[in-house]
């Protein structure tokens, strides 16, 4: 019984140690997942926002993308929109902040495929945007290319994937 208790204790300790290690020394995939969580939070728009707050939020959003970012989105009912470079992203983000409020963005079912060089990665995820009070929410599958720059993972390309095609 004593031996069993000791073994149980050791297993729990090892488990806690492993969780701590993962937290403080995350692998690349975990780093990417954390970055995507932060990105989704940054892309969300609060209920009320000052002009300064809007500028800070948009600047923070730009820190998650590369200078040569390319975005290609096809939203049902809205059509296809393409943006390239940080300036175009800034304009689109500012427009979204001016016209939308209380928007929650979530990245679900995230799949990360790290390249062999561990400098680039491909991510497939389901982006869900919910506006408070709205009956329906917007869902799109998104494919992203990520690049590691100065120790930070940044999005270099993002495009929506159509689940149902005509």
């Amino acid at each position: 019984m004593k031996i069993l208790t000791r073994i149980g204790g050791l297993v729990i300790l090892l488990g806690l140690g492993w969780l701590n290690w993962q937290h403080f020394f995350p692998n690349e995939e975990r780093r990417i997942r954390r970055m995507l969580d932060d990105l989704a939070q940054t892309a969300s728009i609060p209920a009320s926002q000052s002009v300064v707050g809007m500028g800070i939020a948009v600047d923070k959003l730009l820190s998650y993308v590369t200078v040569d970012i390319q975005v290609d989105v096809d939203v049902p009912g809205e059509g296809r929109h393409a943006f390239s470079g940080r300036e175009e992203i800034r304009d689109a983000a500012l427009l979204a902040h001016r016209n939308l409020s209380d928007l929650k963005v979530q990245f679900l079912d995230v799949n990360v495929a790290l390249a062999a060089d561990k400098r680039t990665a491909t991510v497939e995820l389901t982006a869900k945007a919910t506006q408070k009070g709205a009956k329906e929410f917007l869902v799109q599958e998104v494919k992203m290319q990520l690049r590691k720059e100065d120790g930070q993972w940044r999005v270099s390309r993002a495009e929506t994937v159509k689940v149902l095609k005509l």
């Binding site: 679900l108 389901t126 149902l164 005509l166």
Partner: protein, 179 residues
């Protein structure tokens, strides 16, 4: 000298209700229930809440249903089946967080077209008793590949531009709606 039966202290009612007469047996039962629930709701039945009105009038906004993930293990999807379609692949053991609920109208190899809201399968009009409202939707003929199905919602009374429909690969079909 009189030898009596060993006396067993009666288990208080609150203890019987919360942890039962035999805590070890209760723990085993609880573990069994948790394991069965985990397996059933992760791998067999996916509980879902319908959001939006694209499947009206059969499935209303906010209604609760379940997806049978084993429905197409031994058989192929059939025309008329209401199925759940995933977006990106789920990570780990969890099922997809968000899915599309649509009805299959076109099977692999068939040519699907919509003319004034009427569905044509390889040139023949399709009888769709589940469609109650119909706008003049137009879709040019599209021939499905060997692993593709054509999916559409029942609510054809809405604007075609805001209704997500079309062909998808078989691998994206998660399962069939239970009821």
């Amino acid at each position: 000298m009189q030898q009596g039966m060993p006396t067993v202290a009666p288990v208080p009612l609150w203890k019987r209700i919360t942890i039962g007469r035999d805590p070890r047996r209760t723990l085993l039962r609880a573990l069994g229930i948790v394991t069965v629930s985990f397996v059933v709701f992760r791998f067999v039945l996916l509980p879902v809440r319908v959001s939006g009105g694209s499947m009206e009038p059969a499935y209303h906004n906010g209604s609760v249903n379940a997806i049978n993930r084993l429905a197409y293990v031994w058989s192929k999807p059939q025309r008329g089946d209401v199925v759940a379609v995933r977006y990106s692949r789920p990570h780990g053991f969890s099922g997809p967080h968000v899915m599309l609920l649509k009805r299959i109208i076109g099977l692999p190899g068939e040519t699907v077209a919509l003319t004034n809201g009427v569905v044509f399968i390889s040139g023949q009009p399709l009888d769709e008793p589940y469609v109650k409202a119909r706008e003049a939707w137009q879709v040019a003929p599209v021939t499905l590949a060997g692993d593709e199905y054509f999916l559409i919602g029942d609510n054809r009374g809405m604007d075609q531009r805001f209704h997500e429909f079309g062909r998808t690969e078989a691998k994206r079909i998660v399962g069939k709606v239970l009821w």
